[in-house]
């Protein structure tokens, strides 16, 4: 998987407009820091453990990329048809960084599988560097209060994500 494809897939999987929509009221900074830290930490852990994880479940790297692409199709289609998450119900204060900012807003199952697939394919450092911009965009988006127009924006990213997902699947299919 090329670096460009990985970066674009991560942006689609993390869909920053979902984070914008779920941005909690009040002092957002602590929650955003928590969400960003938890998400990037999870990405790093998944990338580090990707090899043993895939070995354990008997899945090769190319097949993991196919899985990542299919998961990205699923979450992208969700973003197209369903409204992005709202701040409530959620945890209060900095814990809002966990719910709703990390889940369900930013850290999607597609991002998790993408981290595993990319970790096996490109290594921990490249995976982290490639996914970090998506999480940074989500963090920036979550620093502002939700505004109008986030649903169509999230849907557009979802449509873009479905197209990117096709390339991720093809990358897995045409790999040795």
């Amino acid at each position: 998987m090329t670096l460009t494809l990985l970066v674009l897939a991560a942006i689609a999987a993390a869909n920053p407009f979902r984070a914008a929509s779920a941005s909690p009221a009040g002092d957002r900074a602590p929650a955003v820091v928590v969400a960003s830290s938890v998400s990037i930490g999870a990405v790093i852990v998944l990338a580090i453990t990707s090899g043993p994880v895939l070995d354990t479940i008997d899945v090769t790297g190319p097949s993991a990329r196919i899985a990542a692409g299919i998961a990205l199709v699923a979450v992208s289609l969700r973003d197209v048809v369903a409204p992005p998450p709202k701040p409530e119900p959620g945890l209060a204060g900095w814990k809002a960084g966990l719910v709703p900012l990390t889940v369900p807003a930013t850290f999607s199952p597609a991002l998790a599988i993408l981290a595993v697939a990319a970790g096996a394919d490109r290594g921990v450092a490249v995976t982290t560097i490639a996914i970090a911009p998506a999480l940074a965009l989500a963090a920036l988006a979550a620093m502002r209060p939700p505004t109008r127009g986030l649903r169509p924006a999230a849907a557009i990213v979802g449509g873009f994500g479905a197209a990117i997902a096709a390339f991720v699947v093809l990358d897995g299919i045409y790999s040795i």
């Binding site: 008997d58 097949s63 196919i66 998961a71 969700r78 999607s108 199952p109 045409y174």
Partner: protein
């Protein structure tokens, strides 16, 4: 239940659905690495199957229904030539009894070598498949290597000139040869590679006969035009072309790899790898519903033949070294699947006709002689790859 709890449950449900969907699409892959001894034993069993199932006239049991314990009708000269090839490959690898069976099987060739307007060819009926002559040439050249015998050289060269006549100006290969009018207009997905390989081999053995030119013409056509002209979907994984590439790489002046060659090779390796990964996901049980029954052993064997041959020449050239590990992994996997699926004497203990089953590969209760042929060639090519890797050919 609080609204937050409901939300958390909904999130968990969403994750479960996505993981379930990906689990349906991507299954665990059951692979292993057969030992050298596994390969040799399986190859010996396959040769033993041919020895047990050759008839007095040199024909083999063509197709057999294990459940009904009955042979099924049909025969195919191209496949007979393919079996000859695999047996001479086995003889060269010192698999016991292979050469003897191959010599007996030559009786069919002697009966069915016919003169056409472009030279001798192998087959029956008014039109003869060019692939049968192509594989016969490969088999007889393999015999020459295995035994050192040169008694059939004149025939080999004559057959080579017949094959050269099937190569059209654009590099395409006529799939049939009319006895009276010569090569026709039909094309075959596999005869192109078979004829290319045969001519490539002949150029190594008889370098002054000019077999390199038609072989290179086919190569250019196969890389640049074949998929568009003949069949663009589904893409063809061409193990015969892999054999030809491996052979051409041993020419004194091997063809250079162009960008188009590299693109084609990328696609071929991807196709072989994908099919091995897919096949290894067929683990029985629920995967029968999502992946279908196992593939023919002939099909699995061709995957190994394709990967193995490409590995051999890439290792020799020291190209695409980054891919060696994964290619070897896929080659091991395909061979492991074959070893696991071969009928052993213990498996056939309750068979009505165990000699029809032992050493064979069955799919949905049937085996066909080319299942044994391709599987045998596949097991032997992996042994060659390991030997080449062990001898430092990759360095």
């Amino acid at each position: 239940m609080s609204a937050l709890t409901r939300r958390l449950l909904f999130i968990a449900l969403g994750w479960t659905l996505v993981f379930g969907l990906t689990g349906i699409a991507v299954h665990p892959e059951r692979c292993g690495r057969p030992t050298d001894e596994d390969l040799r034993q399986a190859a010996q069993l396959a040769v033993d199957w041919f020895a047990a199932n050759i008839e007095a006239d040199g024909d083999f049991l063509y197709r057999y229904d294990r459940d009904r314990a009955q042979p099924e009708p049909g025969y195919n000269d191209t496949r007979h030539a393919g079996v000859l090839l695999s047996l001479w490959q086995a003889e060269r690898a010192s698999i016991e009894g292979a050469g003897e069976v191959a010599t007996r099987a030559f009786a069919r060739v002697e009966r069915r070598l016919v003169d056409t307007s472009v030279g001798p060819a192998f087959g029956g009926g008014p039109t003869l498949p060019s692939g049968a002559t192509g594989l016969l040439v490969a088999a007889l050249d393999e015999r020459r290597l295995a035994t050192g015998a040169t008694d059939l050289d004149e025939l080999l060269v004559s057959l080579g000139h017949t094959l050269a006549a099937t190569v059209n100006d654009d590099g395409s290969v006529s799939a049939d040869i009319d006895r009276r009018t010569g090569p026709g207009d039909h094309r075959s997905p596999f005869f192109t590679g078979e004829v290319m390989w045969a001519l490539a081999r002949l150029h190594l053995t008889f370098p002054t006969e000019g077999f390199d030119e038609p072989a290179l013409r086919i190569r250019r056509y196969l890389i640049d035009d074949r998929d568009e002209v003949e069949r663009w979907w589904p893409p063809l994984s061409d193990h015969w072309a892999a054999y030809a590439f491996e052979t051409m790489d041993r020419w004194p002046d091997p063809p250079a790899m162009s960008a188009a060659d590299d693109d084609w090779l990328d696609r071929q390796l991807g196709l072989f790898g994908l099919q091995v990964r897919y096949e290894s996901q067929r683990r029985g049980g629920v995967t029968r519903l999502t992946r279908g029954p196992i593939a023919l052993a002939a099909g699995v064997g061709t995957l190994e033949e394709g990967i193995g041959n490409h590995l051999l020449w890439l290792m020799r050239r020291g190209e695409r070294t980054d891919d060696f590990d994964v290619l070897t992994e896929r080659a091991d996997c395909a061979a492991w699947l074959l070893v696991q699926r071969q009928v052993t004497p213990r498996d056939a203990a309750d068979d009505v006709e165990p000699e029809r089953s032992i050493g064979a590969w069955f799919r949905l209760g049937d085996t066909q002689m080319d299942d044994q042929q391709h599987a045998l060639s596949a097991l032997l090519i992996l042994a060659d790859v390991r030997q080449a890797a062990g001898s430092g050919a990759s360095s």
